[in-house]
Amino acid sequence: MKNKEKRLMRGSEAIGEAAVRAGCACYFGYPITPQNELTEYMARRMMETGRVFLQSESEIAAINMSLGAASTGVRVMTSSSSPGISLKQEGISFIAAMELPCVIVNIVRGGPGLGNIAPAQSDYFQATRGGGHGDYRTIVLAPGSVQELYDLTRKSFELADEYRTPVLLLADGMLGQMMEPVVFNDKEILPEQLPDKPWTVKGAKDRPSRFIRSLLLDVDVEEEQNWRLYRKYQRIERREIRHEEYYMKGAELAIVAYGTAARIAKAAVKRCVEKNMRVGLIRPISLWPFPYEHIYKTAETVKHFMSFEMSTGQMIEDVQLGVKGRAEVLMYGRPGGVVPTPAELFRVISRAYNKIAREK
């Protein structure tokens, strides 16, 4: 397959292929809809390439197998959907504490509880606030197309290695299931081409033995470790914020949306612009770190924001933290697995926009 050639790929397969081409050596997973296509794709491709695929006995086992494999220095991925990601949280906390690189994919479904298998964005809090116990963060990337699923999967592995931290790829059933053309913009890396990591536990050959742990009984030591992690997170906040803008020039109302919701928002915003409404879109691509600073600066001139989410309102809290009271923040959400139509959102935005215009 030539690099620049377009091919029609399912979202979950784009994630899988990106992982394989990023030199992922181990994948551990457990069946749950709507992400089984990724697990099945990995089963096929990892066997073809002579790498490790293992269907675990639970999501808990899968994340801990990932932890073990990551400790040997290889690139590792696990994936699941919302309820399964909840089960993985303890392990993710350990991986963050032990500073191991690991890529975790969440194909979010409607919740809480068993919910349904429809596309949703209701795991935002869990994803962006660490998710498990303890004072830690995970990098969270939110792709909005199959091409981006591909590109950001590769990026996830790179960020995980660079910062020795778990990276969460947050998608949903729609992005995972849909097919779109994908271009491979990257160079394939084989696992054996990746540089050796100086902290692994693979046996103390020609060096003193070492250990990886998270238990730090001495509070002073634990405090210092927490500050160390904090400084790392600050570094990530300085360097790894990603977002995109659409029709923001001269906008009076800024829609903020990510992932699937941002696709819908794009169409709705375009319609607004065609009707001469000054509406734009800010699409955070990294949900943590969140583009607070950018939103703050935008709020200098834009006095109205609307968080549009496939949930009852979670990201809105980050938008509010971003504007710091400089602007009004509205909310429109559809939870439970409902994917709103661009026409519906257009109506909502129009109403809000007209109200703003009247009050001016």
């Binding site: 377009k6 029609l8 729609m174 299931q177 849909m178 097919m179 819908i264 709705a268 994917v339 139509t341």
Partner: protein
């Protein structure tokens, strides 16, 4: 331009493959395209459908809220999707199996006996390819040639003879639908 099409039928009728072929053709024509299958518990009931959206611009939602075209391979598909078709849209039905009446106005129904034509050609399971040809004739959303090429690309990985047969089936469906459209045109004239 944004054109949405739903392909629907029994599991096993190859409706998902129809969608993938059309989507591939559109991709090769450098159009924006999304393909969205039904998934999960929904497909366990034995029905399957997918939506293909083709546009000259970025596509927001790959879901069919109001499709321009529906290709219905069986009765449940017609019943389920007839009411969401955009006014002025088309429903192409596999009249070998679809015998319920269309329950709405404002859309054009093109009836093509896909399963019968496929059986005459020698393989009943190619009814999906016959209907794909019919759809191409009705919609013109992708060129006939790129559809033929796409079918070769998608189904040709294993057998060359299969591709040739599929192309034959597509042409048969295409020709049949053209005749139907002509009849419509003469009635209207």
């Amino acid at each position: 331009m944004l054109v949405k099409t739903v392909f629907a039928g029994f599991g096993g009728q190859g409706v998902l493959l129809m969608g993938v072929c059309v989507a591939t053709a559109a991709m090769n024509e450098d159009k924006f395209v999304t393909y969205m299958p039904s998934y999960g518990a929904e497909v366990r009931g034995g029905t399957a459908n997918c939506t293909v959206s083709i546009s000259t611009d970025e596509i927001s939602s790959p879901i069919a809220s109001s499709p321009n075209y529906v290709v219905a391979m069986n009765n449940p598909s017609l019943l389920r999707f007839q009411h969401i078709i955009k006014p002025g849209g088309y429903i192409v039905t596999n009249s070998s199996l679809v015998n319920v009446e269309l329950g709405r106005s404002g859309v054009t129904q093109i009836q093509v006996p896909g399963s019968d034509i496929a059986e005459e050609l020698g393989a009943m399971r190619s009814a999906n390819m016959v209907m794909l040809g019919a759809y191409a004739a009705v919609s013109n959303v992708v060129s006939f040639q790129s559809l033929i090429d796409a079918v070769g690309e998608v189904t040709g990985k294993k057998k060359k003879e299969l591709v040739e047969f599929n192309i034959k089936a597509i042409k048969a469906g295409h020709d049949y639908a053209k005749e139907q459209i002509k009849k419509f045109a003469s009635i209207e004239a």
